[in-house]
């Protein structure tokens, strides 16, 4: 940049090559980026909360079916996955910290760890999806609900069991199967969108790893790392809610209690 151009900018000193011309300094640029990223995150929260809202309506309406369907999901894998995802959020937070301190090697290492943990999560998720496919639990494709209910036993054609735990009213088998398929519909859409966000995140982190390796970032300028951190933590928050909402509905029914 020419001396004249610099004078026109109205800046005095502190001229980092990564400052875009509409910003006075790195601090202002950083705060603006952070606010913009939060606008995106808040928008994403709205996106997921709409679907979770619909989930609550149907959970209230088809409560028994939701309990049975939830108890059928694999609690070990999902708890493991929760721990893995919390761990990846932790390593991402440490990656941002390494970027703040200009520790390039640790920055890349922590991002590799984040990517690996994200990969483990998606792998387990893929295994679970395959399990649902093998057991004919894909709504609209091959859905068939043959698991016995924790609210009573039933078989196809029998239309008096299970009984609704709250009102004692009989639930028709075909209705019950439809209600369970509604649960699985929500399960696939919400965990599917969550997994999609993780796949997108994995792509972004690969680019950031490359840029970090190429010394693109410094303690003065690491905004992309921090913004990606916000995104990754947001994905973690979505899972924090999806985990109890899908996997942990009244689990004590699986212990034989009512």
């Amino acid at each position: 940049m020419s001396v004249a151009g610099h004078a026109l900018d109205g800046h005095s000193g502190n001229h980092h090559p990564e400052i875009r011309h509409q910003f006075d300094d790195l601090t202002q640029q950083h705060e603006t980026y952070t606010l913009g990223m939060w606008a995106f995150v808040v928008q994403e929260i709205m996106f997921f909360s709409g679907m979770i809202m619909a989930y609550f309506v149907f959970r209230y309406k088809f409560f028994e079916a939701f309990v049975d369907a939830s108890n059928h999901l694999n609690i070990y894998m999902s708890t493991f996955n929760t721990v893995v995802l919390l761990g990846s959020s932790f390593t991402m937070a440490l990656a941002v910290r390494a970027a703040q301190l200009g520790q390039k090697d640790r920055l890349v290492q922590f991002m590799v760890a984040t990517l690996l943990l994200g990969g483990v999560f998606l792998g387990v998720k893929g295994y679970e999806y395959n399990d649902k496919y093998q057991n004919n639990l894909i709504p609209g494709y091959n859905f068939e609900w043959t698991t016995s209910s924790s609210f009573g036993t039933y078989s196809e054609g029998a239309d008096h069991v299970p009984l609704s735990a709250s009102s004692g009213a009989p639930i028709n088998y075909a209705d019950f199967e439809t209600q369970v398929s509604v649960f699985y519909g929500f399960y696939f859409i919400l965990t599917g969108f969550h997994a999609l966000h993780m796949v997108v995140g994995a792509g972004i982190i690969l680019v950031l790893m490359w840029l970090s390796w190429k010394d693109h970032f410094s303690p003065e300028y690491y905004v992309p790392i921090e913004m990606f951190g916000l995104y990754w933590h947001f994905v973690d928050i979505v899972w924090i809610f999806l985990f109890p909402l899908f996997y942990l509905i009244d689990r004590y029914h699986s212990l034989g209690g009512h």
């Binding site: 705060e31 939060w38 809202m53 708890t79 609704s164 709250s166 985990f243 109890p244 942990l248």
Partner: protein, 108 residues
């Protein structure tokens, strides 16, 4: 420009807290309590976990007040939507519920 660098120890404490809360939410789901309490337990624990992630991992605790307001308002809006819409749905479902479906559970 100054950035608040959080010590690694703080991050470790937050991670341990998040793992403990995960254990807590699993434990609560196995307790023989009413469906409404299950729901409340799950949501309250998830909200606490979210607060920890937002405040420490996402640095909101150390950010500008504008970010505070922005993040806070986002979550506040979600709570508003839920209260307004769910209140409406609960009232409607109770009056329109076809008899073939399960009745909604009692709250307490």
């Amino acid at each position: 420009m100054e950035h608040h660098v959080i010590p690694i120890k703080t991050y470790v404490i937050i991670l341990v807290a998040l793992l403990c809360l995960t254990a807590a939410t699993v434990t609560v789901s196995f307790m023989p309590i009413s469906p409404a309490l299950h729901m409340m337990g799950a949501i309250i624990i998830a909200a606490v976990k979210t607060s920890l992630v937002v405040l420490y991992f996402m640095h909101v605790k150390y950010n500008d007040h504008v970010i505070w307001a922005y993040a806070g308002l986002g979550f506040l809006f979600v709570i508003f939507f839920f209260i307004i819409l769910l209140g409406d749905y609960v009232a409607l479902l109770n009056s329109l519920s076809p008899s073939t479906y399960a009745e909604p559970f009692d709250l307490f």
